[in-house]
Point group: C2
Chain length 329, copies 2
């Protein structure tokens, strides 16, 4: 079925006779999902759960209401709302479009009212504003929850962002095991409370040793690509098991250390695919390119390296990614 | 490109502009391969090397000529030829069609001249006849040889046949490390001598503690499916690296023990795909079904289980395969 993810007629064709309909992005408009659900289409996750990934404002409000730790925030409709929040928390603040942002798009560090006005031009219904937090680090926890209610969690990973985009996913996360346990419990509890089905990626801030929920994704997610080689069951298979109500797979890691580095289109516009043979010369490098058109700054693939030592695995993955991006190191 | 693997015109369409043309079966007739090679199509492996997998008689003669250990054999054109060989080696003997056999087809244990006559009816040019050897066990060694000449070997596995069909592939093979070294050296030497490019599966008999070369396959092979999860680089990726002249990948195992059990269509004709959810409940079971129509006795998929203990991994893989085949154990 070829069609648009925003066209009800196309989606009805897709859903006809399907045991279950699931997602690999958040691009189906909530109102279209609601109509499909009213048709009786078995959607996993449900439109209500999916909205937690589609709308950052909704997610903050709901997670706060459910008692989960989220950063301080305000729903700002005007530059004056932003300034009032900044008066309490200090400039700069971070403004986020509730919908449609990714890889740093739709997010801006705001130094004052003019910047706020600019971002608000794209968001007639207002933006999410939060403090520019001092982060110890960022983490991600992937969990899976089946339509049967069974749930499992993968080991916690550290995610490293540059220029607003996730660049590194590192297992094991270099954190206190108690904090890892807390992150697992938090992610499993969110999955349960919001009724997630399929995999759920929970992106966490660590600020002053406390966990704060940043964003959710109710689908296989970049922060889980390490599981393709690095865990007994990849997030893609796990997602299908979960939405089909099949038994969930083991989530144990396949090596003591797994490093995944994203491959980003280089400034000169060249395609990393032209350099794959060189990158494959790095011992242990597992190269994944997504077949997307190369554009500077666009996420085009990733490299995973398994090993016994986290620093060595990361160094090799960084080397292979650099070769793909046409850099020496 | 949709077409027939035996039609020169279809294959010319496929090959037009290709950097390299390779194979996942031996079904392209040798004369068609020769024509493509004469056209200048870059074939990997070459038609000459491929013939070692296409024609059992040619392989026996050539391997013997090159000094590799093969079972005693004769090229029998008549029942009298078979009887003369049996007079020397004893009945029963094993008769094999030179071309077209697989999974036990085209191979027969011959008790006397009438059986030989029957097999010879399918082989006007004669059959291969060898003794019915007492085997200690069977082994397989997967090697890869690049168009650049680089070559690597995977760990030796034991293969277990039932009803003429490979049913189990077990790593590690329970053999003396010196015999494993010998098997590696033998397989790498064969790859070099016959000019193989891509992966080469060497099937070996162990008889009276000696290695004998049984068959070759110059493509990803059933005996190498364990590498999908069980080795750093799967045989499929390795094959592509090798025929493209790219650096070869690591061949080290990803676990101390890896067991692969083939899934065969059960006698009642039911499809293992209808039982996949149950099989996925076996911890660690990685289920692969090939999407082929279910027929009794047809190889339809396989299950791989990794683990620390060979017996435990094998038991789990056998359990999952049995569930897929609709058996309790």
């Amino acid at each position: 079925v070829l069609g648009s993810a925003a066209e009800l007629a196309d989606l009805r064709t897709l859903a006809a006779g399907a045991d279950v309909v699931t997602f690999d992005h958040e691009g189906v408009p909530p109102e279209v999902l609601a109509t499909l659900a009213a048709d009786g289409v078995p959607l996993a996750p449900s439109p209500e759960a999916q909205l937690m990934a589609q709308d950052k404002l909704h997610a903050r409000v709901e997670l706060g209401r459910l008692g989960f730790p989220v950063p301080p925030f305000v729903h700002a409709r005007t530059p004056r709302d932003v300034a009032a929040f900044a008066a309490e928390h200090g400039w700069p603040v971070v403004g986020k479009l509730p919908r449609g942002g990714y890889d740093g798009r739709g997010v801006a560090v705001l130094d004052g009212a003019p910047g706020a006005a600019e971002l608000l031009r794209d968001a007639p219904a207002g933006i999410v504003v939060e403090p520019h937090l001092a982060l110890d680090r960022e983490l991600a926890v992937l969990v899976a929850r089946s339509t049967s209610g069974e749930a499992v969690a993968y080991p916690v990973v550290e995610t490293v962002q540059r220029d607003g985009m996730c660049r590194e996913i590192l297992f094991p996360a270099p954190i206190d095991p108690l904090l890892a346990d807390e992150a697992h419990a938090l992610a499993l509890s969110i999955a349960e409370e919001i009724g997630a089905t399929g995999v759920l990626a929970v992106e966490l801030f660590v600020s002053e040793d406390r966990l704060l929920v940043n964003e959710l994704a109710l689908r296989p997610h970049n922060s889980g690509h390490w599981t393709i080689e690095g865990a007994s069951t990849s997030q893609f298979e796990q997602h299908l098991r979960a939405v089909l109500g099949w038994p969930l797979g083991d989530t144990d890691p396949t090596a003591p250390a797994v490093a995944t580095i994203n491959v980003v289109g280089p400034p000169d516009g060249t395609d990393p695919a032209t350099r794959v043979a060189v990158a494959l010369g790095v011992p242990g490098a597992r190269v994944h390119l997504y077949g997307k058109a190369a554009r500077p700054g666009r996420k085009l693939g990733h490299v995973t390296v398994r090993g016994d030592d986290p620093a060595a695995a990361r160094a090799r993955a960084l080397q292979a990614a650099a070769l793909l991006e046409g850099r020496d190191s």
